[in-house]
């Protein structure tokens, strides 16, 4: 396939790449470029338009992007760069195969593709402990995503993704919701979608959609910003039919807390917050997590130098292309967190938690960071309580 094929030219046009003024703000804000990698969104846009014959540059650059969207945030011409990368990867992959370097040797992408087998009967609910209130007939389902799989695969990191899934259900239970947990939900497909495997993403989306429908689910609650994006925004494009409401757990908590009567027990710690790209830039949720943390008495919140729209990636997304430059991004980010004097690095995304934990556990650095990555869901689940005056009567 030539890189000036009509399909690619249409995508370049649809994503607004012709509007590029070559100001270079994208490259100057790209974490990968700032990490020292010779990768420039500006040059990629320029090459696609003026030199589509430079296949070597273009085909390499398309797989470099972290899809964090920081370039898009800065772009004065509103070039939709992350969408371009997502769809361009799918076009290239359909033609040439999946070319991105898959981190962890592709193990995660492998189990995601295995889940496209229609007759698979997963055995994934062993983590549900008796104190969690589950209702198999509920119209609300908690989507646990890859939590059970991460828990095994990243056992060496001790990120306890299943503990966070249990904490999410504890929060729901506190709010009076006993969700069902689907025995055979598939991966949301986020990582396949962003690594060019559109075919298998669509297969997962359709299987999930069928599962939701067959189990009478009207609303999905997820604690993962990637699942929230993949199920809420991308699933309906490939699995038409009944629309299933997708709710981000912290939105739900925020809404309920604002009704009053709920408070949090104190936490005397200095805390900073990593904005996940899929939650902040892609879903526009910057304030919610901060509002929730502000409700915890004693918690001293300190903002990192780059925060909200300017936040920097945790180093990797879609488990694609983790390398020395990812590490430099992570170290830079962790240094920002340390400079705030924070003891806890709170984030709302399981992937951010995995990546920051991985970078912090690096045995080579030697020096202690005195920084502990924590899931916001767990932080809230451990402290949520009825305000003393408003404890519901139990008689």
């Amino acid at each position: 396939m030539e890189l000036n094929a009509p399909e690619i030219r249409r995508l370049v046009k649809d994503c607004g790449l012709y509007l590029c003024q070559e100001c270079g703000k994208c490259s100057a804000s790209c974490p990968r470029f700032l990490g020292g990698r010779e990768y420039s969104p500006r040059l990629l846009a320029q090459k696609l338009i003026t030199q589509p014959g430079d296949r070597a540059y273009i085909e390499n650059a398309v797989w470099e992007c972290l899809s964090c969207g920081r370039c898009e945030e800065r772009c004065p011409s509103n070039v939709r760069f992350t969408r371009f990368i997502r769809e361009m990867r799918a076009i290239l992959a359909a033609d040439q195969g999946l070319m991105g370097h898959q981190a962890h040797d592709g193990a995660l992408h492998s189990w995601m593709r295995i889940m496209t087998a229609p007759d698979l009967r997963q055995d994934r609910l062993g983590w549900l402990t008796p104190e969690l209130k589950i209702d198999a007939d509920s119209e609300v389902a908690f989507f646990s995503g890859c939590a059970p799989y991460f828990d095994v695969f990243f056992a060496g990191l001790k990120v306890d993704t299943l503990g966070q899934a249990r904490d999410a259900i504890r929060l729901l239970n506190f709010l009076g919701i006993a969700p069902q947990v689907l025995a055979n939900e598939r991966c949301c497909g986020h990582d396949l979608l962003w690594s060019g495997d559109a075919e298998n993403f669509a297969a997962l989306a359709r299987l999930n959609h069928e599962e939701f429908r067959d189990r009478g689910v009207k609303e999905i609650v997820t604690a993962c910003p990637e699942c929230f994006q993949a199920l809420g925004v991308h699933l309906p494009r490939v699995a038409p039919g009944d629309v299933i409401k997708v709710t981000f757990l912290l939105d739900l908590v925020e809404r309920e807390v604002k009704k009053g009567g709920i408070s949090f027990s104190p936490l005397e710690r200095r805390v900073t917050y990593q904005d996940p790209c899929r939650l902040g830039r892609m879903s526009g949720r910057y304030q919610g997590p901060r509002d929730l943390m502000a409700l915890i008495p004693g918690l001293e919140f300190r903002e990192m130098a780059n925060h909200r729209q300017g936040s920097i990636c945790c180093g990797n997304s879609a488990f694609l292309g983790c390398d020395a430059y990812s590490k430099r991004i992570q170290v830079a980010r962790l240094n920002q967190a340390r400079e705030t004097g924070a003891e806890l690095l709170v984030t709302a995304c399981p992937k951010c938690l995995i990546h920051t934990t991985c970078a912090l556990r690096d045995p080579v650095r030697g020096q202690p960071w005195n920084l502990e990555p924590v899931s916001l869901v767990s932080l809230l689940a451990d402290r949520i309580q009825w305000s003393p005056a408003e404890t519901p009567r139990r008689d």
Binding site: A93, H104, D105, G106, W111, R113, I114, L120, Q122, D123
Partner: protein
Amino acid sequence: MADVNILGIACNWSPYCCYNAAGQAGLALPPNFRLIRVMCIGRINQALILRAFEHGADGVIVLECEDSDCRYGPGPEVGHTNVARVRQLLRYLGIGQERLVERTFQADQRDEFVAVLHGFAARIAALGPNPANPRQERVA
């Protein structure tokens, strides 16, 4: 015997000695058994084992040296960790952890090696095909 694919992943040292000796003695191995030789089981990570199942293996047997015999150090111990984790992943996936096993051999255990392969092949044949029907990564 059901039509199942068995993949062996063997360390070059003790297990491959057994395999070689079995071949020289003309001992029959299970049908549909394929072997991948690696220099050390420490090279095999979770992804490579999962990939075999993604591509349609019905059973995978990881053939290792004994811990104390490793030419390189921690090879078999890395193997134990990875096999334990992938077995758990296979259980979650509904493929079943019994489809992945590891066995250790000394270099002179030719007959034990052959017997283990036949035993494993028989168990996989009884289980039938891998429920994750094979899907290939697209290649150009």
